[in-house]
Symmetry: C2
DNA sequence: TCCCTGATTTAGGTATACCTAATATTTAGG
DNA sequence: CCTAAATATTAGGTATACCTAAATCAGGGA
């Protein structure tokens, strides 16, 4: 082995499996199938099976796995996955706030570093940042205790716009995805960042405009989003 | 492979071999033998031979290696080694200045992270720190262009103190080693950090006292160092 | 119910980077 | 100059994490 004495006990690769299982099980809360994992991790399905078998056979398994029935995080596995997500999001926040990284370059750097920082590093950047609760993309940062603060939000791509002729309605941008740098740059250029007010125009899907934070008035010309863009944006009702 | 798309081209392990060859060849400037490398890297001599053969056989070799005659860095290998050393020392400086790490914990964290930061990360922390020329241990930081600024200094363990009865003489602490955290904590507790004035008392080896920066006067009771401590301290004459 | 298709798993193989034990080379002492 | 000790190399093996190709399994439609 070449990555021997890492602060955490697991390898970079194992960390990535755990993170992927967490992310894919989040929507439905159930078991995750190998194919989905293989796709997300960019490896062959056979590699996934192999890894899951090894993980499940370990003395203190990080996953529960049954042949042909998919995989689930064990409590320990979930704790580790959340620790890595916490690292990732704290690092992103740090790069953004302290090192002035552009929004769309946060993910790649954090994706690498999240596996290698010590507890001390984590603690120090968290303190420096004033223990932030969300990262620059609007995602919740898991707590030190391994709790993931829940946020309820809607994927813009799945929201039906108000019927033609009726009034438009205003939402708040809850978060944007960090995984596609190009889309992210595009959204940012249009002012669509976490906290922004988004007015859904009636009738047409994915036709929106920015709204003034205070008044809710439209402040710019309509923005026509692609379906792909809408897949990257989570919104919540203004009131909540 | 598990550490795929790293900013640099080489692996963590290869980086460490290059750094070790650089460090061990620095004193005499000549070839480095497998045994010395094996000791420094904490691997078996056979593993070193293996790695050197592979490195030397690569299309654009990072080392020049001849069986039984030791190894030398190629220009490309030296460039890469200096890049990693630059990373290491910039990270140490950053951890110390920005994240308030204690001196003796810099090395371990930097040793891990040096392999994984991007060019952008390097550039940003260098800018944030005002492009420092030395790290908190007093070591020169290689330039972006791959030059290692030379500093001439003497290992305290090898300096003969002034003869008994004659005057003591004053040196400046040029640098302290970063590899032994315990020794480092001890030195720091005694005020022996880069830039401190050190008065060598006559006769006894390793018997020193701190001196006032301005006057050169002794400002404290004598400090009795062990031979091991003296192996960790580099000094230069006051004038230089 | 049966079978077909897609998903999953098994089998067998690659590359990296390490190990130990056995062998070979160099060098320094007599 | 020749041998013994120190050093280096070869040979063969382990573990991780990936791959492809060849079985095998599970669930839905005829």
């Amino acid at each position: 082995m070449t990555a021997g004495h890492r602060p955490g006990r697991s390898t970079e690769s194992v960390d990535n499996y755990l993170k992927a299982i967490l992310a894919l099980s989040e929507p439905h809360g159930g078991r995750v199938m190998s194919k989905a994992l293989a796709e997300r991790l960019g490896v062959a399905p056979a590699s996934v099976t192999n890894m899951l078998q090894k993980l499940a056979a370990a003395p203190a398994p990080l996953v529960e796995y049954e042949r042909h029935r998919g995989v689930l995080l064990s409590p320990a596995g979930r704790r580790r996955a959340l620790e890595i997500v916490r690292h990732h999001r704290l690092i992103e926040t740090f790069l953004y706030e302290v090192l002035d990284y552009p929004l769309e370059e946060l993910h790649e750097e954090a994706e690498r570093l999240e596996h290698f920082i010590s507890e001390r590093f984590e603690a120090r950047i968290a303190a420096k940042l004033g223990h932030p609760r969300t990262d620059p993309h609007g995602h919740s940062i898991p707590t030190l205790e391994g709790e993931m603060p829940h946020r309820s939000s809607l994927l813009l791509a799945e929201v039906t716009p108000p019927p033609a002729g009726s009034a438009s309605c205003v939402y708040v941008v809850d978060s944007v995805s960090d995984r596609d740098a190009t889309a992210l740059r595009n959204l940012e250029a249009n002012g669509i960042t976490p906290g922004a007010r988004l007015r859904l125009l009636p009738g047409e899907r994915f036709l929106v405009s920015l709204a003034e934070p205070a008044t809710g008035d439209a402040s710019a010309q309509p923005i026509s989003l692609t379906r792909e863009d809408a897949q990257e944006i989570w919104i919540r009702p203004l009131s909540a």
